[in-house]
Symmetry: none
Subunit: 387 residues, 2 copies
C-alpha cells in the first residue's frame, strides 16, 4: 500500500528511534529486511542497523536472522517470554447510557480488563451529528488507539458519517450496526446481533405452538426495527404464511407525544381489532417495554394471554416483569461488547495484514408464559426441524 519512498540517502540523518521505526515499517511491509539493503537505503553503516536489529529483537519486535531480520516468528527460539504488551486506549461512543447499552458496555469492560485495555465511554444522542461530535471529542482530548461506536445510520448525514468513520486514522469497530453494501466502507469492522434471525426464531416458535396467523408490532423509531420486520417477513415466507392478511403495525407512526397513553391504548385497540379480523392469534412485539404494555392491554380487555393472544417480545429488558411473564428474544448484549473489544484488540495487535472481520451474533429465545401451552393446533412434530 505505501508507495515506495524513493530512498533518501541524502536526507538529514534520522534519530535512532526514527530509524528503528523505519525498520519496523519495512518489516511490516515486506516481512523481512536485509541489513545491507536497509543500511544503503538509510545511508548508515551496516553495524548501526545491526545494533538496531538487536534492540528490536530484544524487545520481541523482530526475529534476528543471519543477514537481516524478519517479523517475529514462533520458530525463533530466542523468543522472550511475552507479556509486557503496552496497553491501548479504546474510545466507545454509544447512543444511550440507560437502555440496552449498559450491558454492552459491561461486556466490553470485562473483556478489556482481560486484554489489559482501557475503555473510555461516551454517551451520545441518536443522531449522526452528535455521534460525530462525541467521536471528535474523544479524538481531540484523549489519546485513543481505536474506536468502538454505534452511530446513527439514518437521515441525510448517516452515509456521510460512515464515510468519515471509515476514513479515520485509527481502527473503527461498529457495534450493533452494519455499513450498507453500497457504501464502500472497506475498513470498517462490526459486530451486530442478527435481529432478523431472532425474529424468525420467535415466529417459528409461535408456529410450533400451533399459531397460523402471526402478526408483528414494531417501533420504527428504533434502528433495530427494520431487521425485526425483515426477519418476520422471511420467516412468514419460509412457513408459507401469506404476507397480506398478516397484521403489521408500527407504533411510532402514532405520534408518540401527541396522544400520550390514551393514544397508545387506542392504537392497541386498533391492533386487536385487526387481529380479530384476520384471525391472528400471536404477535411479535418489538421492544419488550411495548410488549409489557400490550400484554397489560390485552388482559385489561379481557383477553387471556397466551390463551387468546400469544405474545413474544423482542428484547429482554423488562419482559419478565409482566404478568404473565413474557417470552422474549434476548440479544447477546454482553457478547456484543465483548466481541467488539476482541476485534479491536486483535486489530491493534495484528495491524493491516489482518482481514476485515464482520461478525453477526445470534440472539436467544427465552420462553416464558406468554407464548406457551395454549396451542391452537396440536403441534405434533409438524415441523421437527424448526427450532
Amino acid at each position: 500500500m505505501s508507495p515506495e519512498q524513493p530512498s533518501e540517502p541524502t536526507g538529514k540523518s534520522l534519530f535512532s528511534l526514527q530509524r528503528r521505526e523505519r525498520l519496523m515499517e519495512e518489516l511490516r511491509a515486506h516481512g523481512a529486511i536485509t541489513v545491507r539493503d536497509i543500511a544503503a537505503k538509510l545511508g548508515v553503516s551496516e553495524l548501526t542497523i545491526r545494533r538496531d536489529v538487536n534492540i528490536l529483537a530484544d524487545e520481541g519486535l523482530a526475529s534476528r536472522v543471519h543477514g537481516g531480520a524478519t517479523l517475529p516468528s514462533p520458530l525463533d527460539r530466542s523468543a522472550a517470554g511475552r507479556a509486557a504488551q503496552h496497553s491501548y486506549s479504546i474510545g466507545m461512543v454509544v447512543p444511550s447510557l440507560d437502555y440496552y447499552w449498559p450491558q454492552v458496555i459491561s461486556g466490553a469492560r470485562a473483556e478489556a480488563e482481560e486484554q489489559n485495555l482501557r475503555i473510555l465511554v461516551r454517551g451520545s444522542a441518536y443522531d449522526a451529528a452528535d455521534n460525530r461530535r462525541q467521536v471528535q471529542a474523544l479524538l481531540d482530548t484523549q489519546n485513543i488507539d481505536g474506536l468502538i461506536v454505534a452511530p446513527d445510520m439514518g437521515g441525510d448525514h448517516g452515509p456521510e458519517l460512515i464515510r468519515w468513520l471509515n476514513a479515520l486514522p485509527i481502527p473503527v469497530v461498529l457495534a450493533e450496526r452494519r455499513a450498507p453494501a453500497e457504501i464502500p466502507a472497506h475498513r470498517l469492522e462490526w459486530v451486530a446481533t442478527d435481529h432478523a434471525f431472532g425474529a424468525g426464531m420467535a415466529v417459528r416458535h409461535l408456529w410450533q405452538e400451533g399459531h397460523r396467523r402471526i402478526g408483528c408490532l414494531t417501533d420504527s423509531s428504533s434502528p433495530t426495527s427494520p431487521h425485526v420486520v425483515r426477519g418476520w417477513h422471511q420467516a412468514l415466507a419460509a412457513l408459507k404464511i401469506p404476507l397480506e392478511g398478516s397484521v403489521h403495525e408500527d407504533s411510532a407512526q402514532q405520534g408518540p407525544a401527541s396522544h400520550g397513553n390514551g393514544g397508545r391504548a387506542s392504537h392497541f385497540d386498533h391492533v386487536l381489532e385487526l387481529c380479530t379480523k384476520t384471525g391472528t392469534t400471536a404477535m411479535l412485539v418489538h421492544s419488550d417495554t411495548q410488549a409489557v404494555a400490550f400484554v397489560q392491554h390485552c388482559v385489561d380487555r379481557g383477553l387471556s394471554v397466551p390463551g387468546d393472544m400469544a405474545i413474544v417480545g423482542y428484547d429482554d429488558e423488562v419482559a419478565y416483569l409482566a404478568e404473565p411473564a413474557i417470552s422474549a428474544v434476548r440479544p447477546p448484549k454482553q457478547y456484543v461488547g465483548k466481541v467488539a473489544v476482541q476485534l479491536m484488540a486483535a486489530r491493534l495487535a495484528e495491524g493491516r495484514m489482518r482481514p476485515v472481520h464482520r461478525i453477526e451474533l445470534n440472539p436467544d429465545l427465552i420462553l416464558r408464559e406468554s407464548s406457551i401451552g395454549a396451542p391452537r393446533i396440536p403441534a405434533a412434530g409438524v415441523l421437527q426441524d424448526s427450532l
Copy 2:
C-alpha cells in the same frame, strides 16, 4: 498471510527463518513435504532443506522421514517427551486437497498449534453425499470434539445435509459456507469470505480506472460463483451501470468436457464479440485460472491488456504467473482456517452460553499490471470514496 507469493523460484532468496516458516506452511497445508520438491520450489540445495528439516524435527515441529518430512506424528519415537496432551480433537472435511483449501488448512493448523488442538483433515468430493460419508467416518473412527466442514450446499441433498450437521451432537463450524436463512440451522456457526464484497471492490477499482462498461465471466460450477455475481450486480447498481448491456457469461454452461480447449477458445471469442458489441472494456473473471487463460486469449487475438481489455481475476492462486500479471481479488484463506479454529476453540471452552457467531472476512485486492494504467476516462477524483 504470508506476503510472499505461493511459489516464486525467481524471487529473492529467503532467510533461513523464513524458509523454515515456509516449510511449516507447506507441512500444515499438505501434511508432508519432500526435500526435492521444496528445494526446487525455493531454489536452494537439497542439503539446505535437510538441515532445516533437522532443525524443525529437533524442535518437535516435524517428523523426519526418508525423502522429506511430515507433521509430527505420535509414531515418531524420537519425539522428545512431549508435554501438554492435545486437549481436543477437531475434524475438518474440505472439498479439495490441492486447490484453495491447502491454505485454509494451513491457517487452521497454525492456529490449532497455538491453541493446543489436534486437527484431522479429510478430503471429500464436491458432493453432499460424500461430505456426509466423510464426516460420518470421522465421527465413527476418531474421537472428534468438534467439526469444521465445507459442505456442498447445492443439489437436492444440500438442505438435508445442513439439517443433519445442525443436529450433530458436537459443535460444527462451516468454512466458506453459510446456511441459507430459510433453513433454521440455529446451532451452526460459520466463517466465510465475503466474495460479494470482493467482487464489488474489483468493479469499483475498474470504474476508478475509467472503465464504464464492466463485464463478468464466471464459472457457475463453483460454489463461489453466485456470490461473485451478486457482488458484481450490487456494484453495478451502486455505480448506476445498467445491467442490460453488461456482459455476463458463464463458462460452465459450455459443457466443459464436450468441447475441450477448442470449446473454451470459441467461448472466449464469443465473449470478446459481446464486449465489442456492448463497448465493454473491462472484465471480472472468476477463478484466476480462467483469468490467465482469458488474458492469454486476448493477447493471442491481438488485444492489448490492459489497453484494450482490463482484467481482474477473482481468486489469487496463479494470477501473478500470467503475462501481463493479473490483478486479482485474494480471499484471506489462511484466516478462514484460523478463525474457524478460533470459533471452535471458543465454543469448546465456553459451551452453550456463548451465542452463535457468524463471521465474514473481506478479501484483498492485489493490483498488478492487467488492470492499471490504461484509463478510458481520466478518473480525476470522480469517486473519491470508492476504494
